[in-house]
Amino acid sequence: MQPEEFRKTFQALQAELANVIVGQQDVVEELLVAFFAGGHVLLEGVPGLGKTLLAKSFANTLGLPFGRIQCTPDLMPADIVGTDLVVERDGRKLFEFAHGPVFTHILLADEVNRATPKTQSALLEAMAEQQVTVSGKTYRLEEPFFVIATQNPIEMEGVYSLPEAQLDRFLFRIFVTYPSSDELGRILRQTTIAEVPTVSQVLPPEQARAWILNARRLVREVLVARPIEEYVVRLVSATRPDGAASSQQLAQRFIRYGASPRGAQAILMGAKVLALVRGRVNVSFEDIDEVIIPALNHRVVLSFEAEAERRTAPDLLRELTDPLRASR
């Protein structure tokens, strides 16, 4: 696959999603970047902003099998990964594995923070290793496997916050914000008429899977110079309280745990996709800067002092990385 073909397909996907999702261009772009980088995304926003619609439309544009789990407190892990059922065949009773909704290419875990931690952890193995184990038997999930989880940050009762270990599995955490006044007007005009806009498939259904796998391979071929790798390392180190960065005092005061190596991987993979989208085959510093916030904002654990002062992870990340950006 040529980089130009990838770029055009990416832009076509963006344009197709824009037919349904009014505004939120950054959200759409970050979602696509995470998909082609081979990660999963966590969409966070108040109800009614189109998170579920975005996930469904995205699956439709790719033409890939799509599964959905509506997470509730009584949802069991077997409801996600599947379970062994007793079936009678040829006069014999056998255990047969009934595949759960996780066996798909694109999985929407709606309101994931309403599921119990036990159920949430069922997604851990699937997201990290793309396999599930039931009754001691491991089942491989088919590539590509992409989880879009949504959660509502304002609910306090009946929700179970995702543990840090599970948050780390997501490549990006994307904040879905309120639309602007113009965008809201367009949403009203677009969704309250008889003909509701729909998306069409960008990739041919029979070639979609192969094309996506090739695209993911191409992303990994994107060149990264040594200074840019070192820049990523400095950025991730700056988020650690025990790091040697110039902004160590800030990190010590407001951050309890910094970003993991998986955070650095997420930055670099996202930057590679962005480089291809921008028409380059090499990563630049600007690509890195663009993905710092979505890649790291859920990987830093804020201290009590930061929460008391109502400091948010994105703001802190900006403060921590600004000096590095100026001195690169």
């Binding site: 980089p3 060149l223 840019i228 085959v281 630049s284 600007e286």
Partner: protein, 499 residues
């Protein structure tokens, strides 16, 4: 495929050359502006020390500015290129992977991409005509040409003959130096003529001869003259003649006024006339007889014209006196200007001047008449200006000191205000029905009538009628008790009626 390092070196060389050219161009324009500014300041009579200090400061500021600009241009353009083309990352990556034994899959694409990007860089090199360059160019044009006076550098450059030297800027030396120069020049100038000049005009002559000496060499070498030059020389001579005759006849007080005015006018005199007047004076010195005849005839004609113009312009006796003084001042101004033309060398005059050649001919007479008419026109214009100034000063003197009187035109004309007619309060708010025992202002004494004014607003009656339908709500009955429970309810509350 060109090696990326060679590509980078080539593009960087082009970039550096363009930045250097840009700075050199701006520096040249800045120097030109500074030189033109210094020239202008010299025209305004700034001392050499001031000019030197100003020039040095300007040169230092220009050097500092261009140095800063050079650094800024070099960095800012590269930053812009990096921002728009991601040049830095491309070059870093290209150079890094060019030295690996097994280049990655996308390396050829990267090299092609880098070449393409560098070709775009060549199109985005710093422009030669930046905003500051254009600004400097406009400033230089303004300094050289605007407001296009007779003394602008461009004009003077155009007037300068091809083989001749450009006119010197006016340079007024300190008074001591001028005195010394005058004392040196006097023995030279006296044999040439001007023996009948007044002391005032001699003072003007001293000042101007010192100026003439400072730039005398170039002035003497001006052989070719335009017709304008000849006219000015003739004007100066006529004015000198007038001054000479007036100084003999006017009272000394008027001469004093005129001498001060002549000193001012001598300083303001346009330098472009000086060499021409001097040349005219030289001509006269070579042919004293002819010039004497010319001066006599022109003196008579000028006196007649001047008297006629004085009669026209004078309106009152006092004004006439003032006008006479002003006339003397103007005439002595001309005279002092003309005294510059006092010959220094007897052999300097050439035969190029028609006045010198054919003073007695009819053509020269006509020229002389035209000169005199032109001079009288100028005189009448100056007289009118002086009259206006005197009238303004008189008004200032007659005005009372501030704060003691009222300006009658302080307020505009009084306008009649129409008194309101009819009821001032169209709506009667209420009627006081209480009797009053004492008089109230505007209320009178007695019992109020209780009537309402007809001007009060009235509410029109509306045709309304009661509806025949009742609006009473029906009573809401409770749910009826099922029949099987009726006995239970009756037992519990025997007094309660079943519903």
């Amino acid at each position: 495929m060109t090696h990326p390092t060679a590509l980078v070196q080539r593009v960087l060389g082009q970039y550096q050359r363009r930045v250097n050219l840009n700075v050199i161009l701006a520096s040249g324009l800045g120097l030109g502006c500074l030189a033109a500014l210094l020239w202008r300041l010299a025209r305004f009579g700034m001392s050499p020390w001031g000019l030197g200090a100003f020039g040095g400061a300007g040169l230092a500021a220009l050097t500092w500015w261009q140095g800063q600009r050079f650094k800024r241009e070099r960095v800012s353009h590269l930053e812009e290129l990096d921002r728009t083309l991601a040049l830095q990352a491309r070059l870093l990556t290209t150079v890094e992977f060019s030295e690996t034994a097994h280049p990655p899959l996308l390396y050829p694409t990267l090299v092609q991409d880098t070449e393409h990007t560098l070709s775009r860089v060549e199109q985005r090199l710093p422009r030669l005509t930046t905003r500051s360059t254009i600004t400097l160019l406009v400033m230089l044009a303004l300094l050289l040409g605007w407001p296009w006076p007779r003394s602008s550098p461009m004009r003077l450059a155009m007037q300068t003959p091809a083989g001749g030297q450009p006119p010197h800027p006016p340079f007024s030396p300190p008074p001591e130096q001028a005195q010394e120069q005058t004392s040196q020049n006097q023995p030279q100038s006296q044999p040439g003529g001007g023996s009948t000049q007044s002391p005032q005009s001699q003072g003007g002559q001293q000042r101007e001869t010192s100026v003439g000496q400072s730039s005398g060499q170039s002035e003497r070498q001006q052989a070719g003259r335009s017709s304008e030059t000849r006219d000015q020389g003739a004007q100066g001579r006529q004015a000198q003649d007038q001054t000479g005759s007036r100084n003999d006849t006017e009272p000394s007080s008027a001469r004093d006024d005129a001498s001060s005015a002549s000193r001012d006018a001598g300083e303001r005199r346009d330098s472009s006339q000086r060499p021409q007047q001097a040349q005219a004076g030289d001509d006269r010195s070579t042919q004293p007889d002819r010039s004497q005849q010319q001066s006599q005839s022109s003196r008579q004609a000028a006196q007649q014209r001047a008297k006629g113009s004085q009669r026209d312009t004078a309106k009152t006796g006092s004004e006439q006196d003032r006008q006479q003084g002003a006339n003397n001042a103007a005439a002595s101004r001309q005279g002092s200007a003309d005294t510059q033309a006092t010959p220094r060398d007897g052999h300097e005059g050439t035969a190029s001047s028609p006045l010198a050649q054919g003073g007695g001919s009819s053509q020269s007479q006509d020229l002389l008449k035209a000169d005199i008419q032109h001079l009288l026109k100028e005189l009448s214009g100056e007289l009118q200006t002086l009259q206006e100034e005197l009238a303004a000063r008189q008004e200032d003197l007659s005005a009372a000191p501030p704060g003691t009187t009222t300006d009658p035109e302080l307020y505009g004309e009084a306008s009649r205000v129409d008194r309101p007619t009819g009821n001032a309060l169209p709506i009667q708010l209420g009627v006081d029905t209480n009797p009053t025992a004492t008089s109230r202002r505007g209320g009178g004494v007695g019992t109020p009538s209780g009537r309402t004014s007809s001007a009060s607003p009235q509410q029109p009656l509306e045709a309304v009628s009661l509806s025949e339908e009742t609006t009473d709500e029906e009573a809401v009955h409770r749910q009826s008790i099922p029949p099987e429970y009726q006995p239970v309810f009756e037992r519990l509350s025997p007094s309660q009626e079943p519903q």
